[in-house]
C-alpha cells in the first residue's frame, strides 16, 4: 500500500511537524517513507506545505503531484490543493478555520474541528496533532501507537513540555473519525 499526502497551512500551524511525525512513525514501523517540504521562495508569504509518502515499497520521487489526501489547515491551502487530489481521494479540512466546503464531487471531504478540540485540551497549538490523529485513523497509513511513541523523537526541546497534551490531541483526533 502507498499513501501520498500533501499537508498545508500557514506558518506556525505545525504543518511540518505533522508531516515529520507521520514520516517518522512510518519509519519506526519499517515502512518506506519520504518527507519533502516546500522550500526557499515558496515558503515566503507565510504558507507552508509538505509532501509525505508512506509505502510498503521503494518510493520513486518524494514529490507528490497527485496526492491521495490533502490536509488543509487553512482556507488558502484548500484553494491551492483541492484540484490536485486524485479522484476518490480525501480532503481533510480544519473546520475550525475553514467554513468553505470542497467543491469537487469526486473526492471525500472530512471535516475536523482541530482548533476547537485542541482548545478543549487546553493547548490550541496542538490542532496539528488533532488533525494528524484523524488522518491516521482515516488513511491507516501508520498505527496511532507509532505516532504516540514517536512524538518525543520529533518534538523540539522547547515543545517537550507539551508532550502529553500532544499525545492526547492525537488520540482525540483519531477518535473523531468513526
Amino acid at each position: 500500500m502507498t499513501t501520498k499526502l500533501i499537508m498545508a497551512g500557514f506558518g506556525g500551524q505545525g504543518v511540518v511537524l505533522m508531516g515529520t511525525l507521520l514520516s517518522y512513525s512510518a519509519m519506526v514501523q519499517g515502512k518506506h517513507t519520504t518527507f519533502f517540504p516546500s522550500y526557499g521562495a515558496e515558503m515566503r508569504g507565510g504558507t507552508a506545505n509538505c509532501s509525505v509518502i508512506v509505502s510498503d515499497e521503494e518510493i520513486p520521487s518524494p514529490v507528490v503531484s497527485v496526492p491521495d489526501c490533502v490536509v488543509a489547515m487553512n482556507i488558502a491551502s484548500l484553494g491551492k490543493f483541492e484540484g490536485r487530489v486524485r479522484e476518490g481521494g480525501v480532503i481533510f479540512i480544519n473546520s475550525s478555520l475553514v467554513d468553505k466546503h470542497v467543491s469537487r464531487k469526486d473526492v471525500e471531504e472530512v471535516r475536523v474541528p482541530a482548533n476547537e478540540i485542541a482548545e478543549e485540551l487546553g493547548a490550541s497549538r496542538a490542532a496539528n496533532m488533532v488533525m494528524l490523529g484523524a488522518v491516521i485513523k482515516k488513511t491507516r497509513a501508520v498505527e496511532l501507537q507509532s505516532a504516540i511513541n514517536s512524538l518525543e523523537k520529533v518534538l523540539s526541546e522547547r515543545a517537550m513540555a507539551y508532550l502529553d497534551v500532544n499525545k492526547k490531541a492525537l488520540e482525540r483526533g483519531f477518535n473523531e473519525i468513526p
Binding site: 518506506h32 522550500y39 520513486p60 520521487s61
Partner: protein, 365 residues
C-alpha cells in the same frame, strides 16, 4: 551500535556523514537549496572541535578549504550551481596542487540565477572538471538520503586516496527531503594516516611546498601526465553503478540521482502491468563514468533510453560509451521539471518502435 534508523533531511545527512568521515573544517556561503547543510555544520563543528566559517563568498570558501586541506585537515564546502561556478577557480587549484577535499553541489535550475527547483543541469560542469585546465574531479551521484551518507563517507576516502577533490552531485529534492537513514560509525579520526605532504611544522624535515605553478619548460606537461596517470587509475578502480532488471530488458534506461528513482519505479510499474520490459543502469560514479558496462550492454540491447533532468548532458556520455552499437534515445527535463513513471514507459515504447533514436523534451505549449 550505529544501526538505528533515523529520519534525516538530505542536507543534514551529508553534514553528519562528513563529521563521521573525520571532516573538521567547513567553509560555506548560504545558497538555496543547500542551506541546511551550512546551518548543520555551524552547530556541529564546534561540538567536535572543528572549524566552521561562514565565508564572505564562495571564492573565499573554496580557498579556505584549499588552505585547510593543505594543512592536512579533511575539509569540505557545499553550495548550489551559482556558488559552485565561483568555486571552480579554487577547485582547479586544488586539482593542480593535488589537494584532497570534498564538496557537495545541491543542484538547482540554471543557467544564471535560474530557480531553486531540483535539476541535473550541472552535469557537464561537474564531470568535465568545470574550471580551467586539464583535470578531473571524482563525481558521485547519490539517489537516496542513505546514499548521500554513504557517498559522502566514500568521497572523503577517495579524495584522500587520490589527493584530488571529490564531490556529490545532488539536487534540490535530495537535499530537502527526509528519508530514513542508517549512519555509519565515525571513523577514528586521530588514527587515520598522517598526510606526509601537508603543511605544518617543518622541524627536522625538508620544507613542504604546495603549488599549482609550473612555469619551467616541460614541468607542467610532466605534472599533467602524472595527473592523467592518476585519473586512469581512478577510472580503472573506482567505477560504481547499479544494474536493475537489465538481463531480460527490451529497453535499458540510463539515469542517475533523482531521475533514477523515477526510472526504477517505471521499470517496476511496467513489469507489474505486463508492459514493455525495462531495465536500468544507474551510474553512481558520474566521473569515472561506467562506460564499459554500458558499452557491454549495448552489444546485445538495441535500445537505450537516457532519462535526465537536463537537456542531454549525460546523454553525451552514454553516446560516447555506446559508440554507435545501439540506438540511444533521450527523455529530458529541464528547469525543475521531473519525469514521471508513465512518461518514461511511454517514451521507452516509442523509442523501441522507432527506427531512429528519438529525443523527447518537455512540451512548453
Amino acid at each position: 551500535m550505529a544501526q538505528e534508523r533515523s529520519l534525516m533531511k538530505g542536507n543534514e545527512a551529508i553534514g553528519e556523514a562528513a563529521i563521521r568521515a573525520g571532516c573538521r573544517f567547513y567553509a560555506g556561503y548560504p545558497i538555496t537549496p543547500q542551506n541546511e547543510l551550512t546551518e548543520y555544520m555551524s552547530r556541529r563543528m564546534p561540538e567536535v572541535g572543528g572549524t566552521f566559517i561562514q565565508s564572505e563568498s564562495e571564492l573565499a570558501a573554496i580557498n579556505m578549504v584549499y588552505g585547510a586541506a593543505a594543512a592536512g585537515a579533511r575539509a569540505m564546502t557545499s553550495s548550489s550551481g551559482p556558488g559552485i561556478s565561483l568555486k571552480q577557480e579554487g577547485i582547479s587549484y586544488l586539482c593542480g596542487a593535488e589537494l584532497p577535499c570534498f564538496y557537495a553541489n545541491i543542484v538547482r535550475g540554471g543557467p544564471g540565477l535560474g530557480n531553486i527547483a531540483p535539476a541535473q543541469s550541472d552535469y557537464f560542469q561537474a564531470t568535465r572538471g568545470g574550471g580551467h585546465g586539464d583535470y578531473r574531479v571524482i563525481v558521485l551521484g547519490p539517489s537516496t538520503v542513505q546514499e548521500l551518507v554513504d557517498l559522502t563517507m566514500l568521497g572523503f576516502e577517495l579524495a584522500d586516496r587520490y589527493r584530488n577533490p571529490a564531490m556529490i552531485l545532488g539536487d534540490g529534492i535530495l537535499g530537502q527531503m527526509m528519508e530514513p537513514v542508517v549512519m555509519s560509525d565515525a571513523i577514528e579520526y586521530d588514527a587515520s594516516p598522517k598526510k606526509e605532504w601537508a603543511l605544518g611544522s617543518s622541524e627536522g624535515r625538508s620544507k613542504h611546498l604546495i603549488t599549482s605553478v609550473r612555469l619551467a619548460p616541460g614541468t607542467l606537461e610532466k605534472h599533467n601526465m602524472h595527473l592523467l596517470e592518476k585519473y586512469r587509475k581512478v577510472e580503472e578502480d573506482e567505477v560504481r553503478y547499479e544494474l536493475y532488471e537489465v538481463d531480460d530488458a527490451d529497453v535499458v534506461l540510463v539515469a542517475y540521482g533523482t531521475a533514477a528513482r523515477v526510472a526504477k519505479a517505471a521499470v517496476a510499474m511496467s513489469r507489474q502491468n505486463g508492459g514493455i520490459k525495462l531495465g536500468l543502469v544507474r551510474p553512481i560514479t558520474l566521473w569515472p563514468f561506467p562506460k564499459t558496462v554500458i558499452s557491454d550492454i549495448a552489444k546485445d540491447k538495441p535500445d537505450i533510453l537516457v532519462v535526465e533532468m537536463s537537456l542531454g548532458q549525460m546523454y553525451e556520455d552514454v553516446l560516447l560509451s555506446v559508440c554507435g552499437k545501439a540506438k540511444v534515445s533521450l527523455l529530458a527535463h529541464t528547469g525543475g521539471g521531473l519525469p514521471s513513471e508513465a512518461e518514461i514507459v511511454e517514451t521507452a515504447k516509442r523509442a523501441k518502435s522507432s527506427n531512429e533514436a528519438i529525443e523527447v523534451y518537455p512540451s512548453v505549449d
